[in-house]
Each structure stands twice: as C-alpha cells, then as structure tokens.
Amino acid sequence: MDIKRTIKYEADRVSGFGREVMAVPGCEALEHCIQCGTCSGVCPLSIYMDYTPRQVMELVRSDFKNEVLQSHTIWLCASCYACTTECPRQIRITDIMYELKQRAIKEKVYPKRFPIPVLAEEFTKMVHDYGRISETWLVSKMYLRTNPVAALGMAGLGMNLMKTGRFSLKQDKIERRSELARIMESVDQQNQKAQA
C-alpha cells in the first residue's frame, strides 16, 4: 500500500497569493465565498475535476498557489458561466479560472502534455500572427504538440468536414496585421512598465 502525506504545513502556502488574485479586476468578490458548493453543483465538468470549483476557491483564498496552478480543474473549465450565474455571492468564478490559467501559463506549471493550455497558446499565437483563426490549422498544431497519435483518430472528423464542405486549409488573415501587432506590443510594454 502506498501512503501519501496529505497534511499541509504553513510553509506550503505562498503567502499573499490569495490577496493578489483578489486584487485582479473581476476576482474581488472571492473574499465573500461561503463555501456553499453551488459552483460545483452546477458545473458540468466538476465530475472530472481533481479539485471541485469550490475547493479551488478556498485554495486560492488560503494561498495554496502550487496546488491550484497545477490542478486539472482550471483547464477543465469550459467557461460556461453556470457557476458565475448561480453563485449566491456573485463571485465571478469563471473569471477567476481565467486568471489562474493565465498565471499557470506564465509560470509554465500546467500539467505536461495537457492539450488545453497548448491550444490556448497556439490560438493566441495565431491571432497574433494572422489576426484570425483557421480552425483546421489550429487543431492540427495542437495535436502535433501534445498527442500526434490521437491526431490520426481525428482524421475521420476531417473527412466528415470535407464531405459537408466545411474543411479548408486556407489560412485566413487580416489586412492590417501590423496594426494589430502594434496594439499588442503596446499592451505588453504597458504591462512591463507596471510590473517594474
């Protein structure tokens, strides 16, 4: 029998993490959470999560940064906003999930070979480079980076799309790509300045 230590010491906390998240626009109300579990009760994906949304909320508030940023939960969230709509304390759980995803990507601590963050990154890159998304390319890239074998399983899907005339290999682009790039650069610069 394998046994695992589950106790948490104070040293396991990253003091100030909760406050930091709650200072982000949209995440303020988390301090009012009463741990009622409505969010988990309505969440269609909670049945697959390692921590329920409610538990994630408490872990954030209690500064257990490593636990939440490495959790599967934040990547399983499909942004359906059911929790945000029903929460009796009007906590924007979906937006908090977004904030946690951003932090996990920035710190590169998401689970290895997990396709969801990879998709998000590829998506962002494509918007950056072309201004528009071409779904076929996007999905192909994600599979190549995470699970090339599964990509074969998707071939059937491609065939179906082809049959119904919905498959295209053309990369759609906007005309003023430099304009978009400049906007993005400016946001980056402003953020860097703010951090400094």
Binding site: C36, G37, S46
Partner: protein
C-alpha cells in the same frame, strides 16, 4: 425695561473618567486654563463626575458659590447629559443652564498626542463656556397620553401584545387584514423544537382575544390613516365588507354546505392553494372570529365589474340558498359596504409579520415547472391534520398503478431558498434550518420516506435546538452540506427515470452527487411584507436597506422605533421564531404601558418656533419638515410649528429665507459664540 443683567458665575468640571480621559488629556491643565476665562467662578477636575460624589459636588458648588451656569467636560452627552442636567436641577438651577463637552469620544479616545489632545480639550471647553453664557431657562413640556392602544396585525406577535395589554386593563384595538387572526402560526401543524401542536397552543389564545372585554377585534380591516403624535394618535380603519353582519353571525356555518356551488372550486389561500373553498367560507376551523366571509369575486349574487365607488355590483341572480340556510339569524347582507372607523389611541404596536420568499424566483429549483416541488408552507398544510388532505402526504403528480395518489418514498429538503444570496436576499432567515428539520421529522413520520436535508450551515442557536438536530440525526435523516445547484427531471441512470434529480456538491465528502427523489421541499426564506413600504410611511417608521422595519437601537431599544409611541414586535422587524416573537411582543406591550401608566410624555425643549412678525408666509419650510410639524394659518398668512410634533431636527431653521425660525438650545447667539470659542483659542 429689561432687568439688570445677572452676573455670570460659571462652574466648570473636567472629568478624568478613570484613565479614559486622563491618560490622554491633562485634566488639571484644562481646569487651570478655563479658570482664567471671563465669567468662570470656579474650575475643578475630578476622577468620576458621574459618580454620586461628583454630582453632589456640582450641587454643593451651586449653593456655596452661587453658580448660575454649569459646564462638564467628560464623555458623550448621549450617556450622561441627563445625569448632569439632573444634578444641576437638584442644585436649584434650571437644568438647561447646563452644557456638556465631549472630550472622550471626540478627543482622548481618538488622539495619540497628549499635548495636542489637551489643547483640543481646552479649545472645546472655551467654546462651551462662551456658549453657556447665552443659555436660557427652558421648560420640559408634559403631554398627556391617551390610554388606549392600537395593535396592527393579528399573528402571534399581535395576539400576545394585545392579550398582555388587555390583561393589564388597557383597552386595545386589534386590526387584522385577513378574515381571521392567527397569522402564519395558524397554518402550522407542529412547532419546533418541542413539536407541540400549533393549534393546541394558539387557538386558546385566539379565542381569548375574540372574547376579551378589553379587546376590540377588527378583522378583514386595514389601517388607512394615522395622524397625531405620541400619546395622541387619531387612526382611521377601513372595515372591508365581508357581506356578513358580524354581530348576527353565530358561526354555525350552515350557509356553507347550502351554497349553490355543491363543490368547493375556488383557490383556498389559507391552504396555500392546495385546497378549494366556496364563495362563502371560513378560512379554517378555529378561525377567530367565527364569522364566515363571502367573496364577491366569485359569488353568483354579484356581477363582475365594479360600481363607481369601487364596490362590487349586486346582481341578485343567485337563488341565495345560503340566505335560506341562515334563516332568521339574518346575518347575510349583500349590500354591505366598506366602513370607515376613527379611533383615538396613545400608542401603536406594529406586528405585521413577514411573507415567504417567492420560490419561482429561483428557476433552477423548478418550482412551478415540476409539480412535485413544494414550498415549506405547502408542506405545513399537507402534514396538517386539518389541511386539504387531512394530513395525508400525497404527491401532486404521479399515481399508483391502482390510480390512487402516490406518497413519496424519498424527499429532498433544500435550505436557504432565497436567503443568504446576493441575487435575492442576503440575510439568513433564521428559522428555516429549524423548520426544515421539523418538516423532515413530520414527513418521516407520515411517509417513512428517505429524507435528505441540503444545507449550507446548520443554524440551531436556541434553547433545545441543537438537541433537536441530534434527534434528527438519530432518526437517520441525511444531512448533506452543500447548496443545491439544480433540480431537474432528466435521467442519467435507470434509477433516476421519472424522478426529480438534485445535483449538489457534498462539500464535506468533496464530491458532486446526483440524488433522485420523489418530492422536493424548498425552505423559502422570510421577507418583508409586500406592502411594508406603505405601512412604514403610514406609521412614520424607518426601514433598513433590506426592508425590515428598523428598531431604534439594535441592542438597547429593540422594540422602539424612531417615532415615539410606535413600537414593533415579531417578524416585521426581522426574521425570528415564535419564542423570540412572543418575547418581543411582551416587551412592546410593556413599553407602551410605561407611557400609559406614567400618563404623560416629556418633550425635549429643543423644539423650533417661528418669530411670527418675521415670517413672510413663503411656506418654504412646510414641505421640508420630516415630521409634518409645520402648519399654516391661512388667515394670517403665517406658518407656525406644532411643538408636540417637532423633533428639533433643525431642517426648517436653516431653510427659512427670512431667518424667522429659531430653535431652542440652538439659537444663533449660542452657536456663534461656541464657534468663536473654538476659533479664539490659540
């Protein structure tokens, strides 16, 4: 010819308040500084001015040193102004020759630099010394109190308050808008935590109210107008037409079975719509008074539509078998009209209770969509022996193979419906954890079903309440900590087919669960009555942001309102259970009796008055007064203030364009010299 101006001889006292003041303010230095001011005859510091020796000190000094003004620098006037005015009066001076300076809350408690705090105390003291020189002798007015009391609302709060007063020999008018008194409690089968039968403890009280010689009971009535002030209210009550002459109706109820409608077919509100009644009905067997009502909306003897005065039109088309049955008792009168009564009372107790949260506002729980979702009040009626099913718990939807109605085999009770939720009501309704357990127990008793209670937190703070929780745990009721996400009817597994499925996180186990049940009960929270805003204005009360009537002080004046002579009891002030309601009703009755037995009320003389010759008759002040104390003499074209109504708020004083309004204790000379005093200090 004015009398020679009396020489000023001010006595000044600075209090150490133990360490409270002395640790931050150098009291001796303050006394020494004040001593030198013009008009000051003596200045002393003392450890506790409010103590008996402190008060005696003032009295002695007045006599020995011929003092004619007193200033005490100590705590807040809220605490001890009354004390020191008393000492001043006992020393032989008019109490309004006294003035108080707050150097504790306004100084020693809020500063950290002793030097600066001491200087501030000196400045405040000088301001008071200059002000008190302008003080005048004022008189406290006494207004007699009318000994009768109006109680509004005949729930358990109103019943208990009325009985308490009546038993003490006071005359009471009890006004209830429904055809019977009893309120919510009359709908319950049992009451937590003792599970005593609600009817057994309530109905004796109800019939006592009905027959008490000191109580005038007006049911089916509304208070429509309130004028006057503490001790002297004039109240108008509308007695709605019930088409029955109350004095003649014996309550035999022969009319009901004899109505031309053979079957009851109209929605019965008392049974939460679960039962039916006829056009002529009595809300429930123990109704008080035992007088029937005719509903003109459905009775065949009335036409649809209204007369110009708003009353229904008599058609005389019905065979009126009810009248035949009534016979020579002759109690039925289709021509009855609403009747206005005017009464005089000295005090009013408002006991208008609560309404339950509308469960339809939480669509995720399916009330109104799924027939087998119930509200708690519906279940109260369903388990009640005198309820629509005679106490049999049967489902609204679904039949057994033999066609008989189904009884539930599993029941989920959802707590906090509409409560503790920012989208609806943020407060905890306080009684629903307990009543949910009561209903769980009763449902178990009636059906032997599997019971689940879904709660966020169990709130059982009352005598015997935690023990009741224990009892339920022993009965095997499942308690699942988690606020239910939704109630649906789509099945994922075979055992969910045909059931209502509750999806919830079991937060203690840390897993999401789907639990199929036959019946869902929503523990709806308590809310202010729909017309609470109108009632509040009628009786000149205040509301909190949440809509409950506001008590004067949450701890120390829980049944008083900001209007003297108007008291609160029961759930109109906030959610509470029956024991707390009854305690409050007793307290409100006692507060009213304090005034009645003293016979008069004293009025602070800080009222405003209008300098008649200066008033230009512009009427600017009249709409500004929050207490409607300003009247207008149309003949002389001058405004004047009813001193008994004025609360001394000062609004009109500042607003009068011709500066013709003066307020006692806040005259210009007093205020300006006080300001000069603060500013002149350097």
């Amino acid at each position: 010819m004015s009398a020679k101006k009396e020489e000023l001889r001010i006595g000044f006292y600075v209090c150490h308040c133990g360490h409270n003041i002395a640790s931050m303010v150098d009291c001796v230095a303050v006394a020494r500084s004040v001593e030198k001011l013009p008009g000051v005859a003596l200045a002393r510091d003392y450890k506790y001015m409010c103590s008996d020796p402190g008060q005696v000190l003032i009295q002695q000094d007045i006599r020995e040193h011929k003092l004619n003004r007193i200033v005490v620098a100590s705590c807040s006037p809220l605490l001890h102004e009354h004390t020191f005015r008393g000492a001043t009066e006992a020393g032989g001076l008019n109490p309004f020759y006294f003035h108080m300076v707050n150097i504790r809350e306004h100084d020693s408690w809020v500063h950290t630099d002793r030097q600066e705090a001491t200087e501030k105390a000196k400045a405040l003291a000088e301001a008071a010394i200059r002000r008190v020189a302008h003080h005048k002798a004022l008189e406290i007015k006494k207004v007699p109190i009318h000994p009768d009391v109006l109680v509004v609302g005949g729930g358990i709060a109103g019943i208990h308050a009325a009985m308490t007063l009546a038993n003490a020999g006071k005359k009471v008018y009890l006004v209830e808008r429904e055809p019977s008194i009893g309120g919510h409690m009359a709908k319950f089968d049992k009451t937590f935590p003792t599970l005593d039968c609600a009817a057994c403890i309530l109905t004796p009280k109800m019939s006592e109210v009905g027959s008490h010689p000191n109580i005038t009971l007006w049911t089916y009535s509304d208070v429509t107008k309130v004028d006057g002030y503490v001790g002297n209210y004039t109240v108008q009550v509308k007695r709605k037409a019930r088409y029955i002459i109350e004095d003649l109706c014996t309550g035999c109820q022969d009319c009901i079975p004899n109505c031309v409608f053979k079957e009851p077919k109209f929605t019965d509100d008392f049974n939460e719509g679960l039962g039916k009644r006829k056009p002529v009905y009595i809300p429930f067997p123990q109704a008080t008074p035992q007088v029937v009502v005719i509903d003109p909306e459905v009775c065949l003897n009335f036409k649809r539509g209204k007369n110009p005065d708003g009353s229904p039109i008599v058609s005389d088309k019905c065979k009126k078998t009810c009248v035949e049955a009534c016979g020579e008792k002759n109690a039925i009168d289709f021509t009855q009209k609403d009747e206005l009564k005017e009464i005089k009372v000295g005090n009013i107790i408002v006991c208008t209770g609560f309404k339950t949260f509308d469960a339809g506002r939480v669509p995720a729980y399916g009330y109104g969509t799924y027939k087998n979702v119930y509200t708690s009040l519906e279940i109260e009626r369903l388990v009640n022996a005198s309820g629509p099913t005679g106490g049999e718990v049967i489902l609204r939807e679904g039949k057994n193979p033999d066609g008989s109605p189904k009884t539930p085999k599993s029941i989920g009770i959802i707590h906090c419906v509409g409560s503790r939720d920012k989208k609806t009501n943020i407060w905890c309704s306080r009684v629903c954890c307990m009543y949910s357990m009561k209903l769980a127990h009763l449902l178990k008793e009636h059906t032997d079903a599997e019971l689940y209670n879904f709660y966020i937190d169990m709130r059982t703070p009352g005598k015997g309440y935690e023990e009741f929780y224990n009892k339920l745990l022993e009965e095997g009721t499942h308690f699942i900590r988690g606020r239910v996400g939704e109630v649906t009817d789509w099945a994922m597994t075979p055992e969910e087919e045909g059931k209502l499925v509750i999806r919830v996180e079991d937060t203690l186990a840390g897993v999401v669960r789907r639990i199929p049940v036959d019946m869902v009960v929503l523990a709806t929270g308590l809310e202010p009555q729909a017309d609470a805003g109108d009632v509040r204005r009628l009786f000149n009360m205040s509301c909190g942001g949440d809509g409950w009537f506001l008590e004067r002080h949450p701890k120390l004046a829980p049944v008083n309102t900001f209007t003297d002579g108007v008291f609160l009891a029961g759930c109109c002030q906030g959610p509470k259970d029956i024991p707390d309601t009854v305690a409050q009703a007793g307290a409100a009755a006692a507060e009213a009796m304090v005034l009645i037995d003293r016979g008069y009320v004293e009025q602070e003389p800080n009222t405003a008055f209008i300098l008649d010759q200066e008033c230009s008759g512009c009427k600017s002040c009249i709409p500004l007064c929050p207490y409607t104390a300003i009247l207008f003499d149309e003949e002389r074209k001058k405004a004047y203030i009813n001193e008994a109504l004025c609360k001394g708020c000062g609004t009109c004083v500042g607003a009068c364009p011709s500066s013709s309004i003066v307020q006692n204790l806040f005259e210009d000379s007093e205020i300006f010299s006080e300001i000069e005093g603060v500013l002149s200090y350097d």
